[in-house]
Amino acid sequence: MIKEKKWFPVIYMFLVTALLSSIVIGFTQFTSNRVEANRKLAFEKAVLAVLPGLSDEKEKATGLQLHLRFAEKVNEPDDYSAGAYTLIGSGKIIAYALPISGRGFWAPIKGIIGIEADRKTITAIAFYQQNETPGLGAEITKPEFRDQFKGKVMRMGEKLLSFERPGTKLDKNSVHALTGATQTSTRLETIINDALKKWQQQLGDGLDRN
């Protein structure tokens, strides 16, 4: 019987794998454009969310409208912005949108942090990729957490922005961490501080170059 030949299991395994893999590959190809478009849109949405005046939480813009707005209003990073996207008006930079990323509790957290022209005051923060625990770490995407960042100022020294325990008093350089999500909060604090420090350093170098 063919089933009992020694080589049958190997051939069978190979055939089943080949069949299933080709269907999966086909599916992936078919949806890859959508997946890529979704990814890009999430990124652009986050950039628009932190630049002043470019988005409204209540409006219901379509993906296409947001994409067009991004293409029109947002400027790509250049030598003077040290990796940040910029909003320019009347020939001057109004605000920066700096991409930040790093390791979260479950998977990488990626977001955008907005900084005003004074290079010290935060406008907002938005996330376009995170896989943290729903209800705990994932609350970083909710307005209750994000709104804290509006108007906070980077301090001089080691820690530019700090995360304090919920319930303690805040000053203009700190925000409340998330209750019950210590790991995500700690990691996010590191991600934000590392990115801002690096940015300030590169900006300083850029200015020196003029």
Partner: protein
């Protein structure tokens, strides 16, 4: 199988999957991948739908191939089939509902090693015709889902004061101090223990009478 036997076999499968041999409080299998997402009812619903899809189709597929598959590689073949359906779900979510895909994170992928899926394929799919295997998978997954939804309801209402994202009157107000432990892993364990206790007690009382 003739019509009569088929009919009663189907009924048996339905009742076993939903109650007598419920995957969650009887078999206590397949807990890992879903316990972490039961703190929000919406995520649990999506996860359970993914599981229903995967389990019923995998069991049916394993059953279709059962006469061809050599005994000593059957577990690997089962795993391949399960992985296939899970990847399809993962890809579909990423393309058509990206927010949910990122909420469910690594857990959709972990349905592959979900003991219930592998367990039913091994225990039932390998030795029964496709239509029965499909039903067995379907009703096990439904039995699994309804228990998890109960857990998720308690966790979301008690821990966050919402249900499906909407505020629940008393629990989201200032008089209720949200039970944060319900949103965290320990809360899941405790809720599951309580639910198991209740259902098992009901079951044994019914069996005694």
């Amino acid at each position: 199988m003739n019509g009569r036997i088929m009919q009663s076999a189907k009924q048996k499968v339905i009742v076993e999957g939903l109650w007598h041999n419920n995957p969650v409080f009887r078999q206590v299998l397949g807990i890992c991948s879903t316990l972490a997402v039961t703190n929000l009812v919406l995520n649990t619903v999506v996860m359970c739908v993914a599981l229903i899809f995967t389990l019923s189709l995998s069991a049916a597929s394993v059953s279709v191939l059962r006469k061809l598959t050599p005994r000593n590689i059957r577990m690997m073949v089962e795993t391949l089939i399960i992985a296939f359906y899970v990847i399809i779900v993962d890809v579909l979510l990423k393309a058509y509902w990206p927010e949910m895909s990122s909420n469910l994170g690594p857990y959709v992928g972990l349905i592959i090693t979900n003991c219930i899926v592998m367990g039913r394929c091994e225990a039932y799919g390998n030795s029964n015709p496709p239509s029965l295997a499909f039903l067995d998978g379907l009703f096990n997954a439904l039995g699994y889902s309804f228990v998890l939804l109960i857990i998720a309801t308690f966790r979301e209402v008690l821990g966050m004061g919402t249900f499906l994202g909407f505020s629940v009157p008393y629990f989201s107000g200032p008089n209720w101090d949200k039970w944060i432990v319900m949103v965290m892993p320990p809360g899941a364990f405790f809720m599951l223990a309580v639910v198991t206790w209740i259902f098992r007690s009901v079951q044994s009382r019914k069996e005694q009478s």
